[in-house]
Amino acid sequence: MVNRVLARKLARDLRHRKGALIALIAMVTVGVGIFVGMSGVYRDLDGAKENYYRSNLLADFTVDLKRAPEWTAEAVGRLPNVRAVRSRIHQSVLVDLEDRTTPLPGIALSLPNDGHSIINGLMMRSGIRFSHDEAEEVILDRQFAEANHLEPGDRIKVLLLDKQHDLLVVGTAMSPEFVYLIPPGGGLAPDPAGYAVMYLPRKFLQNSSDLNGSYNELVGLSYDTSRRALEDTLVLIKEQLEPYGVTNTTPIQDQTSASIVQDELDNLKTTARIFPVIFLGVAALVLNILMRRMTAQHRVVIGTLRALGYSSGTITRHYLGHGLIVGATGGIAGAAFGWWLQGAMVGMYRQFFAMPGIDRHFHPEVFAVGCAIAMCFALAGAFRGSRQAAKLEPAEAMRPPPPEQGARVLPERIPLFWNRLSFQWKMIFRAVFRNPFRSSVSMLASAVATALLVASLSMYDSTYYMMDYHFTRLFHHDLTLSLRDPEGMGSLSEVRGMPAVSYTEPQLDVMCDMSNGPYRKRTAVTGLAPNNILYTPLDSRGNKVVVPATGVILTRKLAEILNVGVGEQIKLRPLIARREQVMAPVVGIVDTYLGLSAYCDIHYLSTLLGEYRTANSILTRVYPGAFTLPLMEQIRRRPKVIGVTERLRALQQVQETIGDFMGAFFFITVLFAGIIAFGSMLNTALVSLSEREREVGTFRVLGYSSGQIARIFSGESFLLNGMGIVLGVGLGIGVAHLLSLAFNTELYRYPAIIHPSRLMLSAALMVLFVGSAQLIVFRMIRGLQWLEVLKVKE
């Protein structure tokens, strides 16, 4: 049973330290909030994903091939670890929309008409299914339809192979395959308006793709869906289908959309663990300082209570109560903040991921754990102070504390330095060194806050750097024309002759299998024209890579995967045309941030295909400011062109998607760093002020103004936080590098970009936080009833 009088004392103690406590509770709130919010989002997102994948049967593996007769699919279905398969047609298309000058690239996938619970099944969003298997009808990806204002009943022109079809939109749908849709070779962000995903009746698509009675893609389900099991299974399938020209096998772990969703979930999990530890850890340390000061101040009261017969257990519980209140208040506020955060993030993911059921759910266990964590940290923070209070023997406690001991501190050993200091700085240094715990906590808190700022700003800059690097430093063209099949150089001169075109360069992209002993990887090799100027891979020093006549240049990540270095040889086998395996020397390594590219001479690559000088895309520059409508008209009339991408539009697309998100992210980081920095600074400054009220009084008597006194006090804060900031800058740079190492995936990598100006900005923000905490201290000094303080006997 809580003692009523002590409970009232507790309430008054807390009210007395309102400002400091609010700052402290804010830290707990953020810590708990991040935990609750992110753990909640993790569950919501993971649940939605599991549900979606399960109910629409997302394929565990995908096999692409040239052309296989339909009956072969059944044989694959009988292989071990294959639960079910579906064969389908997968075809590149060009879509002509009335309000667009450029034809849009896209893919068409076949869909059986009687398809219920099929692998990679659709979730219809509007409209109906096809009227029959050969109908000239189309179901559009919902996002593409919405972005281009298409509805069931509309008609669109779709170019399949070399024939244009006028298709009736019967419905819109979404698919678990494309939760996060990145167009092939299309960079970082989805482009729902610019890339068409559509579903066509199976028979119709077979006919118009020249694949009667055949298929070119197999999607399937497995029993054991671990990466290893799937890879083994895929080897078997590949052997089985070898005669039909397997070009690609993809386990679910490598499926673009699924792996991005999984990465995001993993990041959420990590963040939900790291951030709360930081915030609650600092809060506990600060609470520790506050409680020890409080029990020191309550010395006489404690002595009196003990003399009145209160047990040391009661005293311990009373002071632990302070921690409990901080923990409980922070926990509850954090739960509310977390609930809000969960909602906001769920909303964000709804925009990022095309997936139904991303809803905020109430997860009681998350709230319970969040509050429990807050309580544990707060009790840990109050523990030392409470012990200190309980250990006071009544007789000893009634006596005033022993006077503060002046003593020499470390820097005094260096007389050359020490003797130059004014007495203010001597006071400051002695205070810093004589309270090592408090000083360390101050420094740690500002180091953490600074590191948070530095690392976030660096991440921000890295993202922009990566985009800029990819879109403006590697590429210098305006349009990419993708060709259906490798063509001779005739098509190059054809494009060169088109209106507005100022320069063209051929490029040949071929999927290849590369291997070096047991290390293997399938990726696209890009054949570049000699003296390439429109696409210029760069080496680590930023110099243009010169592609030699033979051999391949690998992206660093790819070289790591294959475990090769310059001068060694790899086995290279193109997956189209002659598909002949050769030994290719690795002649260079380059740093790119997106994908796993490899480069070689375009003629070298053509030769490997058994052809002479071919290209399957044409990089094009147009005259600045030229009118491109006639060019687009001409391109549209050429069935060989299956896609046109505008480089700057793609860049803009990515910047729009990432820009808003990064802005919010930056704001939140500054807010969080501010809460840590401000919370710890205010508390430590107020504690040291309360210890030194008498000195303030003395200084006032001696004729010091409150400003002059505040300067002495803020000196300590600026010194400690200054050191913390310097440490934090180092720590932040370290964290930024760690993050850049951690996010080193096959899909993208990024360098740790540290601009000196960002370090200055972080430091300046920190100084702003210190300054505002000091402003409060200054106001307290100015308002201090110093004469009263001096009247009280020491």
């Binding site: 002046g406 003593a407 001696l702 004729g703 010091y704």
Partner: protein, 239 residues
């Protein structure tokens, strides 16, 4: 030497002070008047709670009276702004407390430096310490000094700024008899030999006899002011 013929440094005119404590008014001082002359050793004596500290704090510009005027150098400091009072304390007043109020994290010398820092014509801190015979303790921290030594450091600190007034609030209140005698002796000498104006308050009638003038304060008002033609030498005072 007749101090009453000297110039008046501070003139306290019908000063009153009422403290407001929530709902209640506590009259601490009422209608008190006294002139303090240059170079005199004035002792204000009275029982505990009679208003001595209140008066001294008003003279020292640490607080403002509720009524009356306090004239220093032709100016009414009871109407001065906070900034003016700060400047007044800095340049004109040296304060000595019962509990010394030294900064524990500064050495004796550094504690004196605190006072000279802001004053243009201040003494060298070491010189001030030598006036109280503590130059050999310059590098000691307060916790390493005895009470008497600490009080002497605080006297050095008060002297160092060359103030017009030395105000001492029960300076021997926390000291034993022998140490009290030394401190009192020091203060008397400062007035007699260096011509410092010293105002000392005490509840101890014996100490009062060392003063040039003795003001009796009772119940918040100055009841009498007596000239002490033959101040008792400190050595002869019996506590």
């Amino acid at each position: 030497m007749n101090p009453s013929e000297n110039k008046v440094v501070v003139s306290v005119q019908s000063v009153g002070k009422i403290y407001r404590m929530g709902e209640v008014d506590v009259p601490a001082l009422r209608d008190s008047s006294i002139d303090i002359h240059k170079g005199e050793f004035l002792v204000i004596v009275g029982p505990s709670g009679s208003g001595k500290s209140t008066l001294l704090n008003l003279i020292g510009g640490m607080d403002r009276p509720t009524s009356g005027r306090i004239i220093f150098d032709g100016k009414d400091i009871s109407r001065a702004s906070d900034a003016e009072l700060t400047l007044f304390r800095r340049l004109q007043v040296g304060f000595i407390f019962q509990f010394y109020n030294l900064v524990p994290t500064l050495t004796a010398l550094e504690n004196v430096q605190v006072a000279v820092e802001l004053v243009p014509d201040a003494m060298d801190p070491m010189e001030a310490l030598s006036l109280v015979q503590l130059e050999d303790r310059a590098d000691y921290f307060p916790s390493q000094l005895s009470g008497g030594q600490q009080q002497r450091v605080s006297i050095a600190r008060a002297l160092a700024g060359n103030p017009s007034l030395l105000l001492c609030d029960e300076p021997t209140g926390a000291l034993d008899i022998e140490t009290s005698r030394q401190v009192l002796d020091l203060l008397v000498n400062l007035s007699r030999n260096l011509g410092k104006t010293v105002v000392l308050i005490t509840h101890n009638g014996a100490i009062a006899r060392a003063g040039d003038r003795i003001a009796q304060i009772r119940d918040g008002t100055i009841a009498s002011i007596v000239r002490n033609e033959h101040p008792t030498p400190v050595k002869e005072i019996r506590w």
